[in-house]
């Protein structure tokens, strides 16, 4: 089976900024893939290169085995992109926008699918409203809908939930999950790391245009984050324990690998005569992975 997305040695420079630096990445069909990284890491540039909005200086990109330059028609037919910027055409209603977008992809009669998208995104009641009249969240839904009119097998969402209320986030993710279960490949960038952790089976982390981590979400969590004993203490923690852990905001965090290590840890604290004021068990999370990868502790 061909890869949904294949990115080979792609570089892109804007003036003095190296936005992408020899990026290699492959996303398999059916994956729910996360592309993470701080602002300016190059996520949007990479997506734009894939969509043909930006021309790579070097390297090649394929969507379902179609070269995005050489075979751009097929590549674009297989790709749906939700842009990061909240753009819309103020001249048209929601339904007009979707019909026009369908036409651009060569689809004449698309009413049934448009109705289904509208329904799934909670847009049915706004179908005949002018785009100008919609709230930001509603405009974002239309952007998602526009990316889906041609039923693309590969769907890329560039920060689709930025500045969006909880309800929409849930509606959106439920819909995207269903599309993923139906076989669509999903690539997602987001600032909400718990979103990525819950949704994505594999994650790439980008920093200054380079891929600095690429693994399954489970492996990343295992490698860079662990269960930790989190505690607040009245006294000072013994030095050897303090070395194992880290302190932030009055809370100490001491990582451990297995739950059988919890009792010995507590025993050592008690033996050092340290009083425990508060205690909890912290789970591995992507936030910690992200921070550690970005600090350059990638293995």
């Amino acid at each position: 089976m061909s890869a949904a997305i294949r990115i080979q040695q792609v570089s892109k420079r804007f003036g003095s900024t190296q936005a992408l630096d020899r990026v290699d990445l492959e996303v398999q069909q059916g994956e729910f893939f996360g592309l993470l990284g701080p602002n300016g890491a190059g996520k949007t540039t990479l997506i734009s290169a894939l969509a043909g909005l930006v021309r790579a200086d070097a390297g090649s990109l394929f969507v379902m085995d179609h070269d995005v330059q050489g075979d751009y028609r097929a590549a674009r037919r297989h790709l749906g992109v939700v842009p990061q910027e909240l753009v819309f055409d103020p001249f048209f209603t929601v339904r007009e926008s979707l019909k026009i977008q369908s036409g651009y992809f060569g689809i004449g009669d698309n009413d049934d699918w448009i109705d289904e998208i509208l329904e799934n995104l909670g847009l049915t009641s706004k179908a005949d409203a002018n785009m100008r009249m919609l709230s930001g969240g509603m405009k974002r839904r239309v952007l998602v809908a526009q990316a889906l009119v041609h039923r693309p097998p590969v769907i890329v969402l560039d920060e689709p939930t930025a500045g969006v209320d909880v309800e929409l986030r849930q509606t959106l993710w439920a819909f995207i999950r269903r599309l993923n279960e139906a076989g669509h490949t999903i690539v997602l960038t987001t600032h909400y790391l718990e979103e990525a952790e819950n949704l994505c089976t594999r994650i790439a982390m980008l920093k200054a245009g380079r891929v600095v981590a690429l693994d399954t979400t489970a492996n990343l969590l295992r490698r860079f984050s662990a269960h930790a004993l989190r505690l607040r203490t009245g006294g000072t923690l013994p030095a050897e324990l303090a070395r194992e852990g880290a302190e932030s905001g009055g809370w100490w965090s001491i990582p451990f690998d297995g739950f059988d290590q919890v009792e010995p840890l507590l025993a050592r604290i008690r033996a050092a005569g340290c009083r425990i004021d508060d205690l909890e068990i912290g789970k591995p999370d992507l936030e910690e992975v992200f921070v550690r990868v970005m600090q350059g502790q990638a293995g």
């Binding site: 804007f14 043909g52 021309r55 819309f88 055409d89 036409g103 060569g106 004449g108």
Partner: protein, 251 residues
């Protein structure tokens, strides 16, 4: 015909039609005002090629409206899409640069011809008009619209801001169209300005268009056709090259 192309053409026509009071009615009114003022001042004093001044003026105003509105359509649509960012909606689909070019230019021709027809309807009862060689009327209206539509595509792609587009319009398009014999026959000009006018391609478009009405003109309509054809070919090649390279549209 490819669906992507026809949809883009439809969308571009719908775009101006939805705001027809600004894009059609307003320019028709402007042309009507020119007619009322200039014919009031000059009618009875001036005859051109044996044609009464008002009758002479009408085709000029019609063609000027065709040209200016064709330019306005593609240029303003593109700059608006670029500034608001919704240009991505046409850049993401599998639309070729040739389809892109044809759709924007044809929509400009439609806008130009609609406004031109409106101006003709609003003005033709002010003077007895003839339609001596109607095929020329059609040919020059379509070619002129396409030429200015292509120029509009170039300007819309090149300009990053609205004031750059306004500069293009005010310092290039307006002088070219106003100094092209819309309001006078260039034969009435001093020799130096006659020679200058012969370097203005818009002069030939207006002259050829007018020839279709009266059967007389400053230049031969065949010469005008050759000039307009050359302009259109040149601009088409230039614009297609810009689009193919993705100039300012695909970074």
């Amino acid at each position: 015909m490819r669906h992507g192309f026809s949809t883009l053409l439809y969308k571009e026509v719908l775009r101006f039609w939805k705001v027809a009071s600004q894009t059609v009615a307003a320019p028709v009114l402007t042309a009507l005002l020119y007619l009322l003022i200039f014919s009031h001042v000059l009618e009875g004093h001036v005859k051109v090629h044996g044609v009464a001044y008002t009758a002479f003026l009408i085709p000029g105003l019609v063609m000027m409206s065709v040209l200016q509105n064709a330019f306005a359509n593609s240029s303003s649509s593109l700059i608006q899409s670029k500034v608001t960012g919704n240009i991505v909606f046409v850049l993401l689909p599998p639309i070729s640069y040739l389809e892109f070019f044809l759709a924007y230019v044809l929509a400009s021709v439609v806008r130009g011809v609609v406004v031109g027809a409106g101006v003709l309807l609003a003005t033709f009862w002010f003077a007895p008009l003839s339609f001596a060689e109607p095929l020329w009327i059609l040919v020059f209206a379509l070619m002129g619209g396409a030429i200015l539509g292509s120029l509009g595509v170039i300007a819309g792609i090149w300009a990053d801001k609205f004031d750059q587009l306004a500069a293009f319009q005010n310092f290039l398009i307006m002088p070219l169209t106003f100094l092209s014999g819309v309001f006078y026959s260039i034969n009435s000009l001093p020799p130096f300005w006659q020679r200058v006018s012969h370097w203005n391609p818009v002069f030939y478009m207006i002259d050829g268009f007018r020839h279709g009405f009266f059967g007389v003109s400053d230049a031969s309509p065949w010469l005008s056709l050759a000039v307009a054809g050359a302009c259109l070919a040149l601009l088409t090649v230039f614009t297609l090259n810009l689009l193919k390279r993705g100039y300012k549209l695909r970074a």
